[in-house]
Symmetry: D2
Subunit: 324 residues, 4 copies
C-alpha cells in the first residue's frame, strides 16, 4: 500500500523504514528538508510540503501524522483537513490526548475524511522489534488498512502463545489491536504509558532501597554493598519480575553501574498526567500511577514552596532549623 508520513523523528522515520522494507511505498515530509532528503530512497519519495505530499498520493489517500502532541499536530491535522478529500484517511500515531482525537475525528467526519488514532509503542527499538499498535476509529477503515498495521506490528515471533486465545482475533497475537471508536486506541496507549510510569517507579524505588542498603542510617551489621547490575541481570532469569524494562535496566547498569550519566531530573510527556486525569474522572484509585508521576514532578522542583512551607511550620512550632 501507499502511505504519506508527516514527521520523521525517532518514530516517524523508522516507521517509514519498516513499512518500505515490507514492500509498502511512502511519501514523506518533515519540516527539516535535510531529514526528508536523507530518508528518500527505495520506495520512499519526498514531498516538499503538505500540498505536495498530498498530491503525490493516489486516492483514497492515507496520511500518517507522527508529530509531538499539541499545537503542531493540531495545525497539521487541520491543514490536512483542507487538503484531503472525501474517503481519504488521517492516522495520528503520536501521543495526543484522547479527547482531542474524539474532537478531531468528529471535525474530519463532517468533511468525509476518516480519522484513525493509533497508539504506537516501541520507541527506538520499533524498527527491528516491531511496534505494538492500539488503534481507534471506524472499524471498516482500520480493516482496509490492515496491511499497514500488520507490517508495522512485531508479528508472533518467538513469544510463547497464550493458552485460551484460539477463538479470538489472531491479529492481536501479531501485535496490533482494534480497540474501538475514535480515541479508544489512544486511550489504551495512554494507559499503557501510565502503567509504564508505575512499573518504572517500582523498579526505581527497589533499586534505590538496594543501593542505600549500605547507608549509615542502617546499623552496621545489616549494611550491604549490593551490585545493582548483577541483580538486574539475575532477575531477568526465572524471577517473577522479569520484563523488557528490566532488560533495559540491566543493559544500562552494565554500561554505567552508578548511573553517573544521569542527572536525576526526570521529565514526563503527558500520558502519565492524562492517565491520572482519566482515573480521577472514573473514580479509580490510581495511587501507584499518581505517585510515579509525582516523583518526576518532585525531581524537577525538589525544593518547592511546599517543602519550604513545611520548614516554616517546623520552625514556627518547634524552633527547628533545617540544614541547607
Amino acid at each position: 500500500m501507499q502511505l504519506g508520513m508527516i514527521g520523521l523523528g525517532r518514530m516517524g522515520g523508522n516507521i517509514v523504514r519498516r513499512l518500505t522494507r515490507a514492500g509498502h511505498e511512502c511519501v514523506v515530509f518533515d519540516q527539516n528538508p535535510a531529514t526528508v532528503k536523507s530518508l528518500v530512497g527505495d520506495r520512499i519519495h519526498g514531498g516538499s510540503n503538505l500540498p505536495d505530499l498530498v498530491k503525490r498520493l493516489a486516492k483514497p489517500r492515507t496520511v500518517w501524522v507522527m508529530l509531538p502532541a499539541g499545537e503542531i499536530t493540531e495545525q497539521t491535522v487541520n491543514e490536512l483537513g483542507s487538503l484531503l478529500e472525501k474517503g481519504d484517511t488521517i492516522i495520528d500515531g503520536g501521543n495526543a490526548f484522547f479527547h482531542d482525537d474524539v474532537r478531531r475525528a468528529r471535525a474530519m467526519k463532517d468533511k468525509g475524511i476518516h480519522y484513525i488514532d493509533c497508539g504506537t509503542s516501541g520507541g527506538v527499538w520499533g524498527l527491528e522489534r516491531g511496534y505494538c499498535l492500539m488503534i481507534g476509529g471506524e472499524k471498516e477503515v482500520v480493516d482496509r488498512l490492515d496491511p499497514i498495521f500488520g507490517a508495522l506490528a512485531p508479528g508472533t515471533g518467538s513469544i510463547e502463545r497464550t493458552p485460551g486465545r484460539e477463538k479470538r482475533d489472531p491479529r492481536v497475537e501479531r501485535g496490533y489491536l482494534y480497540c474501538g471508536p475514535s480515541g479508544a486506541g489512544r486511550f489504551v496507549k495512554m494507559v499503557h504509558n501510565g502503567i509504564e510510569y508505575g512499573i518504572m517507579q517500582a523498579y526505581a524505588e527497589g533499586f534505590e532501597i538496594m543501593q542505600k542498603a549500605a547507608s549509615k542510617e542502617v546499623p552496621a551489621e545489616r549494611r550491604y554493598q549490593l551490585d545493582l547490575a548483577d541483580i538486574a541481570e539475575v532477575w531477568r532469569r526465572g524471577s517473577v519480575i522479569s520484563s523488557w524494562l528490566l532488560d533495559l535496566t540491566a543493559m544500562s547498569l552494565a554500561q554505567d553501574p552508578t548511573l553517573a550519566n544521569f542527572s536525576g531530573v526526570v521529565e514526563d510527556s503527558g500520558e502519565g498526567r492524562w492517565t491520572v486525569n482519566a482515573a480521577v474522572e472514573e473514580a479509580v484509585p490510581a495511587d501507584v500511577l499518581s505517585a510515579a508521576l509525582y516523583a518526576r514532578f518532585r525531581s524537577r522542583d525538589p525544593h518547592a514552596t511546599a517543602n519550604k512551607l513545611l520548614s516554616a511550620m517546623r520552625h514556627a512550632f518547634g524552633g527547628h532549623i533545617e540544614p541547607k
Copy 2:
C-alpha cells in the same frame, strides 16, 4: 511536688519554668553547666551530675528525662537505674520509640523502679500555652504524680467544651491523658506526630498548587496570582480547615510571603517513620502519613538513584535525553 529534670533544651527548660511557676520544686541537670546555671533560681536547684541530682531529691524521687531519642536517653535511663531506688520513678518525656519504653519499663521494674512514658506536645509554645501530655505506665504512679501533669497541661482555658463528655475523666479536658500501660503514652504521641506530618503536607501541597496557579503550564486565561498570606489568614476564620498549624502558617507567610528564609530541605525526627512502621505492622493503609514522610525524604536527596534509573530507562527505550 519535687521533680528532677535532666536535659534543659527547648523543651526541658520550659517544662521546669512552667512547673516552678505553679509552685513545684525542681532539681535540674544538663551536660552544659552554663545552661544549668542560667536556669537556677526560685524553686530551681542545680545538680552537678546525675548522682548529685539524685541525692538532692527526697524519696520517693521522680526524675524527668528530656533528651533526644537514642543513645543518650538509653545511657541516662540506665545510669538512673543504678542510682535510683525501689519506689522511685523515671519519666521519659522525649520522643523515644515506644518499643524502647516497653523494654526499659520492664528492665526498671526488675529493680522496683517505676518508668513512665510521657509524650509531650507543645513545642516552643508550651511554656505559655501548656503541654498536651499523653502518659503511659502504671496507673497508680501516674495518679500519684497528678500535680505535676496537671501543672504542665494547658487546663481547660477558653476552648469550647465537647458535648457528651460529662461522665468522662475531667483531666482529659485539662489536657493530659493516661493512655494505658508502658509505651501507650508514647504510642499516642508518635501517632500524633505522624498525623502532624500528614496535615502539614496537606497544607503544603495546597499552598503550592495555589502558588503555581500562575505558572506557564496553565493556560493564560486561568492563571492566578494568589496571595498566600491572605489566603492562610482568611482560612483561619470560619473555614473547615482552621487549625493551629494554619495559625502558624499565616504567621510565617505574613512575615515572609515567599518563604525565602527556607531552603526547601526538610528533616524528619523519627516519629513519622515509627508511625509508618506501626501502620505496616497492624496492616493499616497509611497512604497519607507515608506520603508525607516520603516527601521529606525526597527533599533531602531529590536526584537519587531512583530518579537516575528512570532517566536511564527512558533513554534506553525512547532515546530521551533529560534536561540537566
Copy 3:
C-alpha cells in the same frame, strides 16, 4: 442591601438567615415551594419562579445561586442570563469547577452582566460561626457588594490576631477575601477542600492506627486498648494538631465511640478531584491530596477489577488462593 437567593438547601437557607439577621433583605426561590414558604418572614420574600424573583429585585440586581455543581447550576445561570439586565450581578456560591466560572463569566460579560464566584466554607455551622468567603471576579463589583460579604463572614471574633498583618487589607481578618479575576475565588475554595480531604485522611489514618493497636497482628506485649474519644479530646489542648476538624472528631467520638453509625463508605463531592487535576496541570506533586481522594474511591468499590487482577496474578505465579 437586597439579594436574591436561588437554592435554599443547607447552605442557601442559612445564608439568607444570616444576611437578614444583619439587616439585609432577601428574595428567595427554591424548586420546592414548601421550602420557600417556610423561610419567608422578616425581610425575606418568596419568589414563585426565576422571572418573579428577578422582578421583585431593585436594579442593579444581585442574585446568589446556591445549587449543586453541574447541570442545575448551568441551567440556572443561563436562565438568569436571559432574565437579568446590564449592570446586574450573579454570584455563584456553590462548588462549581473553576473552569466553568471562567467560561460563564465571559458569557455573562457579553451581556453586560457581572459574574462573581464565591467559594463558601462553613457548612452547617455557618449560620452561627459565619462563612469563610473566597471571592473572584471584577474587583469593583466585589467592593460594591462588600456589605453582603461582610455580613456573611465571621468577623474577627475572639481569634487571636496574626502579627505582621498591620498594613494588609483588614477585611481578610474578618473572614472574606477578594482572590482575583473570575474563577480565582472558586480556585482557592477548591484547594481549601482538597486540603480538607488531606487533613481528614491524616486524622483518619492516625485514629485507625490507634484503634488497631490492639489487633492480633501486633505482639501481645505491645497491644494497647486506646480510648479514641479521650485522645481526640486531649489533642484539642495544647497539641500541635489541634484544629476545628479535630473538635468535630472529638464531638463525634464522644457521642459514638466506635463510630457505629457510619458504614465506612465515603463520598467525594468534586473539589478533591479538581484539586488533583489542577496539581497535575501545574506539575505539583500532590501525593497526599491524591491519596486522600483515592481512599474514598476505594471505600466505594473495594473489591474492584484492580484487586481481582492482583489475585489473578498471585494465583498464576504462586498458586495462591485468596480468602473470600
Copy 4:
C-alpha cells in the same frame, strides 16, 4: 551432591524434583508423612523426622529449609542447630525477614554451622522454568554448593544476552547470584517482592482504568468498551511494558475475562511490608511500593475505622449522609 530438604510444599517439592532430575540426591522431610511418601523415588529418600533426615546425610551435610516464615522456620533452624555438626550447612530458602537471617547466622556460627540465606523466586513455574536465586552468607560455602544452585537456576536459555557483561561472573546470567554476607540474599529477594507488588499494582490500576472507561461517570462520547484480554495480549508484543507478569495477566484474562473467579480480597505475605520498613530505615521514598502494599490492606478491611471517621467528620461539618 546430596541435600536434605525440609518442607515439601509448592516450592520445596519442586526444588527436590528439579535437583534430582539434574542428578543430585535428596533426603526429604515434611510434617505430613503422605507428602514425603508421594515424593520418594529415584534419588529421593524419605526421612521420618529431623534426626532421621540428618542421620541419612553424609558429612559435611547440607539441609535446605523451605517453610513459611516465622515460628516454624525458627523452631526448625534451632532444632537443626542441635542436630547438625561443625562444618554442616543450613540453607534457608523461604521468605524470612533478613534481620532473622543475620541473627540466625550468628547463632549457628557459634556452633561452627554455616547458614546460607537463599531468596528463591519462580513460584509454581520454577520446576520447568528454573528458580532465580539470590544468595547470602559465607562466600566459600556458597561456592562449594555451586552445583546445587546451578541446577536450580534457569540457565542462560533463550534469553538475549546483556551487552557489556563480558567480564562479569557468568553465573549471574545462568540465574543465580551471590549477593553478600548473611541476609544479603534475602534482602535482595525481599526487594524483588516489593517491586513485584509495585508492578502488579501498576498493571492493576491501569486495567481498572480501562475497565471503567465505560462507566457512567464518563461522558457518553468518551466511553469505551475495552477488551482487557486482547489488550493484555497485544501489549506482550513490542510494547514497553511487556513482562512475565503481563504474560500471566494475558493468560488469566483469556481464561476468565471478567475475573469472576476472584473476590477482590488480596493478601500480602510479609516481604512487601519489610521492603517498606527497609525503605523507611534508609530514608528512601518508596511511594509506589507502599501504595501497592496499602491497596492490599484496604482490600481486606475496606470499611475500617479510618473511613468511618471521614464520614463522621463529613456529617459533623456538612450534615452529609453517606450511602450504605
